[in-house]
């Protein structure tokens, strides 16, 4: 029975937790899905995420679903290092002899990690881009941070990326704030992929876009994930996004994982009461 191989993880999140405020002694028992709250009644501390574990392999996309406030983005931010975490570990392994314990890195090592190992695409382009800088300039920033010095090779790499993400090259020298929402997301994707990171975190990447524009961005993301064999984590409250991009999912409710499943199984046979409520609301 050992001949089935589980793909090797590139990103491993183990018992990750994030608490805002001071938790009382029984704070964990007094919060969570059974209680229906993430707020510690004694101290008012918020258990934004607790005991969140999952692994993602190269070429695989994991979905993180849940209502707003369920802890999806907190988990994402803790992995990306935008936020400190209170418990657990995050490890990345990009080759057999290189394993990095993300949470024990110094701030400057973490910044380095964001340059060429973990890329993040945010719902709000203002978080991922400098809107007052040109598209080309935005892409040049991770490249120069990674040590690129030659102006013309940076230009040519930037145009290659913009071409791939379907941004017209004649917009390369325009400031990003003059771009439409969909185009900004494409520039964010180009910037995220600049140094060919093995891991990409996508936080509601198409939320807020017009349906037709969202469809185009979604198709682009699907193509990029396949082409580069990325290990991806996709946070979304939209099941059509999850269904299209991922084959496995976790469901978060009040900061805890209430179910993990294959995506088709989650949609057809959700087990946890909360998952059933989510799916039936989305499919009605």
């Amino acid at each position: 029975m050992t001949s089935v191989v589980s793909p090797e993880w590139v990103l491993k999140v183990n018992q990750l937790g994030k608490i805002f405020g001071n938790l009382s002694e029984n704070g964990l028992a007094l919060t969570g899905p059974e209680i229906g709250s993430s707020k510690d009644p004694a101290t008012g501390a918020i258990v934004a995420a607790w005991d969140v574990s999952f692994e993602v392999a190269a070429g695989e996309a994991l979905g993180v679903v849940g209502e707003s406030g369920s802890g999806k983005s907190t988990v994402m931010r803790c992995i990306a290092g935008d936020q400190s975490s209170s418990a657990g570990s995050v490890q990345i392994r990009t080759s057999p002899d290189e394993q990095i314990d993300v949470l024990s890195l110094t701030p400057s090592e973490r910044r380095q990690l964001r340059i060429d190992k973990i890329a993040v695409v945010y719902q709000d382009p203002a978080e991922g881009l400098d809107l007052n800088v040109t598209a080309g300039g935005n892409i040049a920033s991770p490249l120069t941070a990674a040590g690129w010095r030659n102006f013309s090779s940076i230009r040519s790499r930037a145009s290659e990326l913009l071409l791939r993400t379907e941004v017209p090259l004649n917009r390369m020298d325009d400031v990003v704030k003059s771009f439409s929402g969909g185009m900004k997301q494409r520039v964010q994707l180009a910037k995220a992929l600049a140094n060919r990171p093995p891991i990409v975190l996508l936080d509601e990447p198409t939320t807020g876009l017009d349906a037709s524009v969202a469809a185009g961005v979604l198709d682009l993301i699907r193509g990029l994930l396949e082409e580069f064999g990325l290990a991806a984590v996709v946070v979304s409250h939209d099941f059509s996004v999850i269904e299209m991009l991922t084959n496995r999912c976790i469901v978060l409710n009040h900061g805890r994982v209430v179910e993990s499943a294959l995506t088709d199984q989650l949609l057809e046979d959700p087990h946890h009461p909360y998952s059933q409520k989510l799916v039936s609301a989305a499919r009605a």
Binding site: S6, L262, H271
Partner: protein, 253 residues
């Protein structure tokens, strides 16, 4: 025929019940302990009235439904057996792509992806390189008479019968070890139905283990080596197509 050495699928006492938390935690029992075996090169047809558990059984084997208890052993390349019920999600995802074909009339086509791409991608998942997969996809689609003009059209634009042929082509691009079919020809016109049935027959001859649900008895009679009749989520009786179908038709009259 049901030679123990050639058993590919061995389902043991499979149970599936749903707890509907949104409706007073009502429990719906779909499978109440199904056991059956399918050998390489054998086509087993599932019969029974609607609600008997035919589709639930296929979905529970493929694990679109997570079984409540029991085991689903699948034979692998090295002749060892693995229990699909107890695999992790990522192990199962890998195994599905490489070993199991599942074709359902209800499979939803991926949005905005061309027909040819869908079938080619299924081939790549089965371990083909991109050029081989493209050739195999072209061959599969031709064999199912899907007009070449439709190959670069997004599958969601196709008619029901065309979509079903795309699903069939993707599920059978290279012979899987196990092929699960849920009414695979229900939306097809007579001519296309004929090519699809022919394809399924050929795959069985090539050694694929087939477990299928068909609406029409004619297809069952033609393709099945054995018919298993389900009732209330258990195996009621089984036999050759001739005897079981006669019995089923007797009931129908």
């Amino acid at each position: 025929m049901n030679n123990a050495e050639h058993v590919v699928l061995d389902v043991r006492n499979l149970r599936k019940h749903f707890v509907l938390h949104t409706i007073d935690s009502r429990i719906v029992e779909a499978l109440n302990g199904v056991s059956l075996k399918v050998s390489a090169g054998e086509h087993v047809a599932l019969a029974g009235t609607s609600g008997a558990g035919k589709s639930s059984l296929l979905k529970s084997i493929y694990r679109t439904y997570k079984p409540s208890s029991g085991a689903v052993f699948l034979k692998l390349d090295d002749d060892s057996f693995v229990d699909l019920v107890s695999l992790t999600d990522s192990e199962l995802a890998t195994l599905r792509g490489t070993q199991i074909g599942y074709v359902s009339q209800f499979l939803r086509a991926q949005p905005r992806r061309s027909t040819f791409e869908i079938v080619t991608k299924a081939g790549i998942q089965r371990g083909m390189d991109s050029d081989t997969a493209k050739q195999a996809a072209a061959y599969s689609l031709q064999r199912l008479n899907l007009d070449e003009a439709l190959w670069d059209v997004s599958a969601s634009m196709l008619s029901g019968g065309e979509k079903q042929r795309v699903n069939l082509a993707a599920g059978t691009i290279s012979p899987p070890r196990l092929l699960l079919l849920d009414e695979p020809v229900s939306a097809l016109d007579p001519l296309n139905r004929e090519s699809a049935l022919e394809l399924i027959g050929t795959l069985t001859d090539q050694g694929v283990a087939v477990l299928a649900v068909f609406h029409d008895m004619d297809a069952m009679e033609r393709l099945a080596s054995r018919v298993i009749v389900l009732r209330n989520g258990v195996v009621d009786y089984e036999g050759s197509p001739m005897e079981t179908l006669a019995r089923l038709e007797g009931v129908a009259r």
